[in-house]
């Protein structure tokens, strides 16, 4: 199990898995050799609410970094998720369409979205945030929002 960075805001605890990279939009990318597994960060899933539906780009799709890889409909919002990497979609989480609640229940594990073939991830990762940087970014955002609401 991945180690987590954590912070609390009000009654919520947000976690950031330390073994992967993050886009500014909160899509994580975990390098596993030739492939990168992607999913939604705990912060984004908690803020977006319970997921009702997920639509993913089909296996075989070629994506550029920043292109839409998934659309997630939650009880609050519809979110278009940009791919954190360029590459070809190799496979999709076979459980996620039938059980989209996995994104809420286990965002860094069984709630993964897709696996993308990325031969040059170390180069692409230069455009992503490491876990500590992402953690500091969202903590700052959440604290600022709390102050604004006070």
């Amino acid at each position: 199990m991945a180690e987590m960075l954590r912070f609390n805001i009000d009654k919520f605890t947000f976690q950031v898995a330390t073994d992967r990279w993050y886009s500014n939009e909160g899509v994580w990318a975990k390098w596993e050799g030739m492939h990168v597994v992607i999913g939604l960060s705990d912060y984004v899933q908690q803020r977006s609410g319970d997921v009702a539906f997920v639509e993913l780009k089909p296996a075989g799709s070629l994506l550029n970094q920043g292109e839409e890889v998934a659309v997630i409909e939650t009880i609050k919002v519809n979110i278009s998720l940009p791919s954190p990497v360029s590459g070809r979609v190799v496979s999709l989480n076979p459980e996620i369409e039938k059980a989209p609640e996995l994104i809420n229940q286990d965002p860094y594990g069984t709630g993964w979205l897709a696996m993308i073939s990325v031969p040059d991830f170390p180069i692409q990762a230069q455009h992503l945030l490491d876990a500590q940087t992402y953690y500091e970014k969202i903590k700052r955002e959440a604290e600022q929002e709390t102050r604004n609401n006070e």
Partner: protein
């Protein structure tokens, strides 16, 4: 269809969440069921009464099977019926129902949009069917 036998009254306990669309859908569905579809076989109990420990409400849920309608995963309605000594014959989550009726996307809080109203109607219809099933069982759904 009423076959002449006395049916067990079913208690309906919807979510009491204010300010959330799915909570509103749960209450609208409960009103449709209790006022229009099954007025003689259902009784609405406000979740807030159970939260406050109202003795009359607790007595009702502890002596009849309940159907709960939760607006979110906290499942307050289901938990409070159980904590009040009641038996939950069937629990519904609005999100799960919406997944079956994606064409009815609910929006609005004080007043639901058309999708929300249709989703509430579909949910009420589903619960009515479930009531028919429960009441056809020998113990009338009181199988806890």
């Amino acid at each position: 269809m009423n076959n002449g036998s006395k049916k067990q009254r079913v208690v309906i306990v919807p979510c009491s969440g204010i300010g959330k669309t799915y909570g509103t859908v749960s209450r609208e569905a409960a009103y449709i069921l209790v006022e229009d579809i099954r007025p003689d076989e259902t009784q609405l109990v406000a979740l807030s009464k159970l939260v406050m420990g109202d003795e009359e409400a607790k007595a009702i849920v502890s002596s009849h099977p309940s159907i709960t309608i939760d607006g979110c995963k906290l499942a307050c309605a289901t938990k409070m019926v159980q904590e009040s000594g009641g038996k939950v014959a069937k629990d519904y989550a609005v999100l799960e129902v919406y997944r079956q009726y994606r064409q009815y996307k609910p929006q609005g809080i004080a007043e639901l949009n058309e999708g929300g109203k249709l989703l509430a109607q579909a949910l009420a219809n589903d619960i009515a069917k479930e009531m028919d099933r429960l009441q056809s069982e020998p113990d009338g759904g009181d199988n806890g």
